[in-house]
């Protein structure tokens, strides 16, 4: 096990012969030809799978009084109907399903119907007779009144906030709201469960393999060693697939009971209420500055809600690190709700926290009559404002991001007075936002094998949810071992392989490639010893190992049997010693239709500082995705609560709208050169979520600049803009 607890010195990744190069995805040919199998598509491994369909609750809180399964059981092809009356007992820890009559949220599983065909199961699932008694739930509450200070949010009360705020010459005191949002990844949650004796193989759509093995084994009460989880290809996650849902548990239980593989996909309609979502927030921003623009008081209170035990959306977090200011009051209040359980969605916290903070900064800039870029620049700080210079940032180039972006975007052409630029029917404006996203890292392992033909096999339980894990782990191994990319094969997404970080929180790329780095170091030592070289001196290049003028082809070291090294990376306390985050600056140009108020994005630029860029092509794509989701959060994404029924009413992809092609122009992404030797031996930082962090605020700031309407209630849809245009 390799421990990363001191900043990285020079290492073999510095060659950048393979890393930092825009290689095409190595899983590309499989994906573009439909040959990459997703969770519901393991027909070879489960050739006789029966089809399960989950039935979900149509009330938000209450009890099942009666449940009559007789018609469904008699329906053609039906093999099993499972309800709380006959479901196997499961453990409370984990994700138990069908364990009682109590309904805690809308969309909770209340039954499973299994049949020979999908059509039979789907039809029979409609034949259950379920009588509910509905109780009054907490679906629509005053977050401001009902919340309590969340202890897990890490609240800050520093200096004399109230005094500094009261005495400052410029201040904003504004409240923003952000709605519930849905991940809406393209592949529905799905599971195929196959038992061999007492051993379960579960093909499912999930982001972290060992969370599946522990979670499913814990729930259904089998040893973790008896379950193998496979998510070789995952059709998007964005946090939704960090959780185990009814499909995984019920497929496992039903397959065991039937002695036959069972596969279940949640319907698109079920996903919106059964699975997690990003919770709504109300955010109270109080920012005060001197005439020079320097913040003297930074206040950000988030009010959010969730099921008992849940965390809601901690939208104040980034405000602890983004700007200077000696007097700080940063808090999160959490209320209990009976709506579906909330969970992590791309950049939990920052994605919506920055919508509020970075709009408030724009409002402050206007009050100060100061350029919004300059306001951000003067409030830059190179250390954790709460701790002081003893906790510097590992690498913070926010100012450079802002300056580079302003230059590239033509920011100097922006008219600071709103509503001055017109292009035909469009009122046109520009907006800016800073971006920050924390840089978590976590333990990750890899097995690297040099095979007799000289090719390298990289294996890890790491997942690739579209992030590029296959490709960057291949690049890491190729770089470390001095072999061409074409000689590297990567297998991921299988819990039978070394435990890995999985994908989430932007930790995947950095952590998993560091695990591959560790395993490659071990393999290098093993090979150097075989060749009789000093492992510290040996050079790996061009398929050979060399020291001084001696050179040996790697292939010749293998002989008949492959050489395998397994190792993992663990991270020490560098994240405590150094504040670590990826930074960005986003610039948007938006047109607002002067008649209808329809907002449309015309240009978007993100300048990103993420340490070393492992693969500029896949990293850019991650940014494109985040930026687009940011546009969605700014302009359209809104999971609507109907408090009479306690559910999200727009539960399909026609009514929960995410951006389509026509909403998104060509996007521009720039990566600043850099490396972060405190982050990992790869000297990279996370990028998967940075794109969404701040983009939405740049868009709404541009709307304000375009037409003078400041929408503080997201999303900024035409009705809200129109209301402002008409006043």
């Amino acid at each position: 096990m390799m421990k990363f607890d001191t900043p990285a010195g020079p290492n073999p990744t510095d060659k950048l012969k393979v890393l930092d190069k825009p290689y095409d995805r190595i899983d590309g040919p499989l994906k573009v030809s439909g040959q990459a199998p997703y969770a519901y598509e393991y027909q070879d491994a489960a050739p006789n799978a029966a089809y399960g369909v989950v039935v979900t609750s149509t009330i938000g809180k209450g009890r099942i009084d009666t449940i009559d399964t007789s018609d469904a059981e008699r329906a053609p092809g039906v093999l099993m109907v499972m309800t709380h009356l006959n479901a196997p007992k499961q453990n409370d820890r984990g994700s138990p399903q069908l364990q009682g009559a109590e309904i805690k949220q809308y969309g909770q599983a209340v039954a499973l119907v299994v049949a020979n065909t999908f059509e039979q199961a789907t039809a029979a699932a409609q034949m259950l007779h379920i009588g509910y008694s509905q109780e009054k739930g907490r679906f629509s509450l005053d977050l401001l009144k009902d919340g309590e200070l969340s202890q897990r949010a890490g609240n800050v009360d520093m200096g004399d906030f109230a005094g500094a705020f009261a005495g400052a010459p410029a201040k904003v005191d504004v409240t923003y709201t952000t709605p519930n949002q849905s991940h809406a990844m393209m592949e529905p949650h799905a599971s195929t469960a196959v038992w061999h004796g007492d051993k379960l193989t579960l093909y499912l759509a999930h982001q972290v393999m060992h969370w599946v093995t522990s979670g499913v084994a814990g729930t259904i009460g089998i040893p973790e060693a008896n379950i193998r989880a496979v998510s070789a290809y995952v059709g998007g996650g964005f946090g939704s697939k960090l959780v185990i849902y009814a499909d995984a548990i019920l497929a496992s239980l039903a397959a065991r009971k039937l002695g036959r593989p069972v596969k279940i996909a949640l319907t698109r309609g079920q996903i919106f209420n059964h699975t997690t979502h990003r919770a709504q927030t109300m955010q109270h921003l109080r920012l005060a500055a001197g005439r020079d623009g320097k913040l003297v008081a930074v206040g950000h209170a988030t009010y959010t809600g969730d099921q008992p035990g849940g965390g809601g959306e901690h939208a104040s977090g980034q405000t602890k690190l983004l700007y200077a200011g000696k007097n700080r009051l940063i808090q999160t209040y959490l209320a209990e709700l009976d709506l579906p359980k909330a969970g992590a969605m791309r950049a939990p916290g920052e994605a919506v926290g920055l919508l509020a903070l970075e709009n408030a900064m724009d409002e402050l800039a206007e009050q100060l009559d100061m350029d919004p870029v300059e306001l951000r620049v003067v409030n830059d700080i190179q250390y954790d404002p709460e701790v002081g210079p003893d906790r510097p940032f590992s690498e913070r180039k926010l100012v450079q991001c802002l300056r580079t972006g302003a230059e590239r975007f033509g920011w100097s052409k922006r008219n600071p007075k709103p509503g001055q630029v017109r292009d035909g029917q469009w009122l046109v404006g520009m907006g800016v936002s800073a971006g920050i996203r924390g840089n978590p890292v976590t333990a990750s392992g890899t097995r690297v094998t040099l095979r007799p033909d000289g090719t390298v096999l990289v294996e890890s339980a790491m997942t690739d949810i579209g992030t590029g894990s296959y490709t960057i782990n291949a690049q890491t191994a190729a770089e470390m071992l001095g072999v061409p990319m074409a000689a590297v094969e990567v297998r991921l997404g299988d819990s039978a392989l070394p435990r890995a970080s999985g994908s989430g929180g932007s930790w995947g790329a950095n952590s998993s490639t560091s695990g591959t780095y560790a395993a490659c170091w071990l393999l290098r030592r093993m090979l150097a010893e075989k060749a009789g070289f000093d492992p510290e001196q040996a050079q790996f290049a061009d398929g050979a190992i060399a020291a001084g003028d001696k050179r040996v082809a790697l292939k010749s070291l293998v002989g008949g049997s492959p050489v395998t090294a397994v190792d993992s990376i663990e991270f020490g306390d560098l994240t405590k010693k150094y504040a670590q985050a990826s930074f960005g600056a986003h610039f948007a140009e938006v047109g607002v239709d002067m008649h209808t108020g329809e907002p449309r994005v015309r240009r978007l630029l993100s300048v990103c500082s993420i340490g070393r860029v492992l693969n500029p092509k896949t990293a850019r794509s991650q940014c494109l995705g985040g930026m687009t989701m940011g546009v969605g959060s700014a302009l359209m994404e809104d999971l609507i609560v109907d408090p009479r029924f306690g559910y999200f009413v727009n539960h399909d992809m026609a009514e929960y709208q995410v951006p389509v092609h026509a909403d998104i122009p060509d996007l521009d992404v720039v990566f600043l050169e850099g490396e972060d030797n405190k982050s990992s031996p790869m000297k990279a930082r996370g990028v998967g979520e940075l794109g969404i962090c701040g983009v939405g605020a740049a868009v709404t700031n541009a709307i304000y600049n375009a037409c003078g309407v400041r929408v503080r209630d997201y999303p900024a849809t035409m009705d809200k803009i129109l209301a402002g245009l008409m006043t």
Partner: protein
């Protein structure tokens, strides 16, 4: 594949009812709020023979008439390259070509495609022999998770053909003189949602194929 292989209970007639017997399946309380015009028991699913030409191969199937073209491809023929993203025509992941035209295979019954020529992503090209559009998607990173990708590619290929056939779009200025542009591509591809949002890269891939690039 089908639960009822009794040939007497299968078969399409050009006129008149299929000889399906009506099994007794009581209506569900779940339908207390459903369409009122449903007093009688649901009939048992009689299978219907249908032959589909998929990627140049003829398949003779007996299908429950409820089977969509999408599920016939995925669950009966094992062609899982065509994806189920929403099953309601709201995402485009299931896009295939029927007689050269792109459609959502989730909103079409397989039995309605007797004799049709169907092309799926597997029929466009496989690794080692990719269609130019598939190769362009790889080159331009026109995908991330890969789940919407077969639909995007099938849609792209047929979309370019529509363009050549003079099909206008919502952003066409002159209906009788349609000019290829990024804006046209974006509008015409809007029925294919990509939540990873590879949109600019997809447009780049299409632009290149339209311009004759990528071998």
């Amino acid at each position: 594949m089908d639960q009822d292989s009794n040939p007497k209970r299968t078969g399409v007639t050009r006129r008149g009812l299929l000889a399906g017997s009506a099994a007794t399946v009581a209506l569900a309380n779940a339908h207390a709020l459903a369409d009122p015009a449903t007093p009688s028991p649901a009939p048992a699913p009689a299978t219907v023979p249908v032959s589909l030409n998929v990627n140049g191969t003829k398949h003779s199937l007996k299908l429950d008439p409820r089977v969509t073209l999408l599920d016939a491809l995925r669950e009966r023929l094992g062609l899982t390259g065509t994806k189920k993203g929403c099953d309601h025509g709201q995402c485009g992941a299931c896009t295939v070509h029927v007689n050269g035209t792109r459609i959502n295979s989730c909103l079409s019954l397989a039995v309605m495609h007797e004799g049709d020529e169907i092309t799926t992503i597997e029929g466009l090209g496989l690794p080692g022999n990719l269609h130019p559009m598939q190769a362009a998607f790889v080159k331009h990173d026109g995908f991330q998770c890969g789940y919407c990708t077969p639909g995007q590619i099938c849609s792209s290929v047929a979309m370019l053909k529509e363009f050549d056939q003079g099909v206008p779009s919502n952003v066409t200025e002159d209906l009788e003189n349609i000019v290829f542009s990024d804006e046209e591509v974006r509008e015409r591809m809007s029925g294919n949602i990509c939540r990873c949002a590879a949109y600019p890269n997809i447009v780049a891939a299409i632009r290149e194929v339209h311009g004759g690039g990528v071998a």
